[in-house]
Amino acid sequence: MHVGLEHYLTVSFLLFALGLLGVIMRRNLLVIYMSLELMLNAANLALVSFSRFNDKLDGQVLVFFIITVAAAEVAVGLALIVALYRKRQSAHVEDLTTMKL
């Protein structure tokens, strides 16, 4: 069986959808966070496959940027989650409703 662009994109879409579901459905902040990473990586996969099938390196360059940003984001995000946990003794989104009026 020949593996074409559409197959890669399908995998990428599935990964993105899984990540999205995780963000929307899961209660634990850490899991939500991992799901976010999953969504980023789904985007990465799509970009790499576009790069491969178009014979251009632009997509791969973009992926490097995304990985860098994701690394920085993880550092900040995890720090926030830890700080939040120390303050509230909880990492569940149901408890974080102070934005409500």
Partner: protein
């Protein structure tokens, strides 16, 4: 023209004083008073210097600074300098100065002492603005400023509801007149395209029918301003109520200067008025003179009697303008400023001695206790009646002579009759207050006022006596008629009226004599007013001011209240209920609905966000 800066200084010094008092010296009573008095006395001295240097007709005649230009409308800020304005300058600063000094004594124990002097200075500035204005806009602005300062001063004792009401009444009644005045100004500008007095006069001299068919209406509309400010019938009702203000204010504003502004304005813009308009003006003036004199006969409040007397004399002046006798009108205005200010200040002296008792039937026998006030009041009363050779005789005689010259026998008879009435009511007041028995406890403890109050009285008394023979008439005559009167000696000037128009002079004197003896027989020893018993219903009508206030209450004010009620209903239910209510309610409801979306749950937001992205993508990729 020498010393061109002086008129500007005279004009703006009182404003500077008012500003200074309001901003810095409200707490320092004496400083405030000195600033205010200093400004007006300096103004008087500077006026004398200026007139000495330039004569009564300065060569340039105008001193102009361009103020604003809007399209075709060009407004100058300029000073008109001719005999008319220079003489008024002397009257306003001179009589005003005397009254300022008198106020220092009269208001001495008042809490609003500094505020009073600030308002007085503001008034002086506005009045000088009217006098010196060289165009309609500047005149109108000063005109309104005078109204404001009059409002502030009538309402000086604002804790008293009657004072507040009187202030409002004066202001609103004046506004009615000013509305017509403004329309008149706009009409003149619309037709002739200029607001400057000299330019307008030039245009109308070239072509006397330049105003076309609107001439009469324009003239009468401008006259409306004078009707309001000079309290002519039918807007005369505010002036007697304005007596709620402090007595020096009544003397300055509601006798000597502000109410005279209407007459001054008519003389200034005389060229706008055509014969038909003048006709109406003459009859309104004559009617006001008669009406006010009749009312004055049966009033009991010392200040109100003099206030109605002012109305009546203003009627004389307006009548004189209507009979094309500007010289006579301005002459009477000047002498009236002297003797009416004198009468008011003397009355103020009496009122103060009696601890603010104003009912003449509670006074009596004050002649020995207050000798200076007695003598000055007597001179003022004689001048007002028009007794030869006091100032009032000459000016009143010139008005009567003018009526005869125009062959208007009705107004002539009216004038003579009012002259008799004038003598009657002022000597009724005089006999009741200064002669007879003491009619109350306070009257027996009265004593003479301090020197700061009696000196202004004496100065004004001197001018009331000699005002007729110091050449004031000649100065006006040269301006209005244009030809130089031949110089006549002092002795000749004394008898001039008898030589010129013996009938007028003798009839005038006869009226005075009749009035005097009527007052003497009725009131010299009276304890209460004998007149109601003799006149019956007429006396009651006079006492109740011919029911004008009640008439206005029943018609104008009732109508006004009705319109106000309708407007209130519309505002309350249509504008606020429907208009504002719908908008407010709608916003509130939407807000409440949208608030439900704000759950505070992070994941709901994330879901809605994704939904949004999906919708956008669907729209883009569709």
């Amino acid at each position: 023209m020498k010393y061109e800066i002086l008129p500007w200084l005279i004009l703006f010094l009182p404003l500077a004083a008012a500003g200074c008092i309001t901003l810095f010296t409200l707490r320092y009573r004496t400083v405030s008073a000195l600033l205010s008095i200093g400004a007006i006395v300096t103004g008087f001295v500077l006026s004398v210097i200026f007139i000495n240097a330039n004569g009564w007709q300065p060569s340039t005649g105008e001193s102009i600074a361009n103020w604003l230009t809007i399209g075709g409308l060009q407004v100058d800020f300029g000073l008109k300098l001719d005999a008319l304005s220079l003489m008024m300058l002397l009257v306003v600063t001179g009589v005003g100065g005397a009254i300022h000094i008198y106020s220092f004594g009269y208001m001495h124990d008042d809490r609003g002492f500094s505020r009073y002097f600030a308002c007085l200075s503001l008034f002086t500035f506005s009045m000088l603005g009217i006098v010196l204005a060289n165009n309609f806009i500047q005149l109108f602005i000063s005109w309104e400023l005078v109204g404001v300062s009059s409002y502030l001063l009538i309402g000086h004792w604002f804790e008293r509801p009657s004072a507040g009401d009187a202030a409002k009444k004066a202001f609103i009644t004046n506004r009615l007149g000013d509305f017509g005045f403004l329309l008149g100004i706009l009409m003149v500008w619309g037709i002739l395209g200029s607001l400057n007095f000299s330019v307008l006069q030039g245009l109308l001299l070239q072509n006397s029918s330049a105003l076309g068919t609107m001439a009469t209406i324009a003239g009468l509309l401008v006259f409306c301003g004078a009707v309001g400010k000079s309290a002519q019938f039918p807007l005369h009702v505010w002036l007697p109520d304005a007596m709620e203000g402090p007595t020096p204010v009544s003397a300055l504003i509601h006798a000597a200067t502000m109410v005279a502004a209407g007459v001054y304005m008519l003389c200034r813009i005389f060229f706008v008025l055509n014969p038909e308009a003048l006709h109406v003006i003459a009859y309104i003036g004559g009617f006001t003179a008669l009406l006010a004199a009749l009312i004055a006969v049966q009033q009991d409040d010392i200040k109100r009697i003099i206030a109605y007397s002012t109305l009546s004399q203003l009627g004389y002046m307006v009548m004189a303008v209507g009979l094309s006798g500007q010289t006579a009108a301005m002459f009477h205005l000047t002498t009236h400023a002297f003797f009416k200010a004198l009468l008011f200040l003397s009355a103020g002296s009496v009122i103060m001695a009696l601890h603010h008792e104003q009912n003449i039937w509670k006074m009596g026998d004050l002649r020995k206790k207050m000798p200076i006030t007695f003598w000055t009041f007597l001179l003022g009363a004689l001048a007002l009646s028009g007794v030869w050779p006091l100032s009032g005789f000459f000016s009143k005689d010139s008005i009567l002579a003018q009526a005869l010259e125009q062959h208007n026998y009705l107004l002539f008879a009216d004038g003579v009759f009012v002259a008799g009435l004038t003598t009657f009511y002022i000597f009724r007041l005089f006999f009741v207050v200064f002669f007879g028995k003491e009619k109350s406890e306070i009257a027996s403890h009265a004593h003479e006022s301090p020197a700061v109050m009696t000196w202004p009285l004496i100065v004004l008394a001197v001018f009331s006596v000699i005002g007729g023979v110091i050449g004031i008439q000649g100065i006006y005559h040269r301006l209005f008629v244009g030809e130089a009167e031949q110089a006549i000696g002092f002795g000749q000037m004394l008898f001039e009226p008898f030589a010129q128009a013996p009938l007028t002079a003798s009839l005038g004197i006869l009226a005075v004599i009749i009035g005097f003896f009527a007052a003497f027989t009725l009131y010299a020893k009276a304890d209460q007013d004998p007149l109601p018993a003799k006149l019956g219903g007429l006396a009651t009508a006079m006492k109740n001011r011919f029911y004008f206030d009640e008439l206005y209450e029943a018609t104008v004010i009732r109508l006004h209240d009705f319109i106000a009620a309708v407007m209130d209903w519309i505002d309350r239910w249509l504008v606020e209920g429907l208009g504002i209510g719908l908008v407010r309610g709608g916003t509130d409801l939407t807000g409440r609905a949208l608030r439900l979306v704000q759950t505070g749950n992070l994941q709901t937001y994330a879901f809605l966000f994704v939904l949004g992205v999906a919708v956008v993508m669907w729209l883009v990729l569709k």
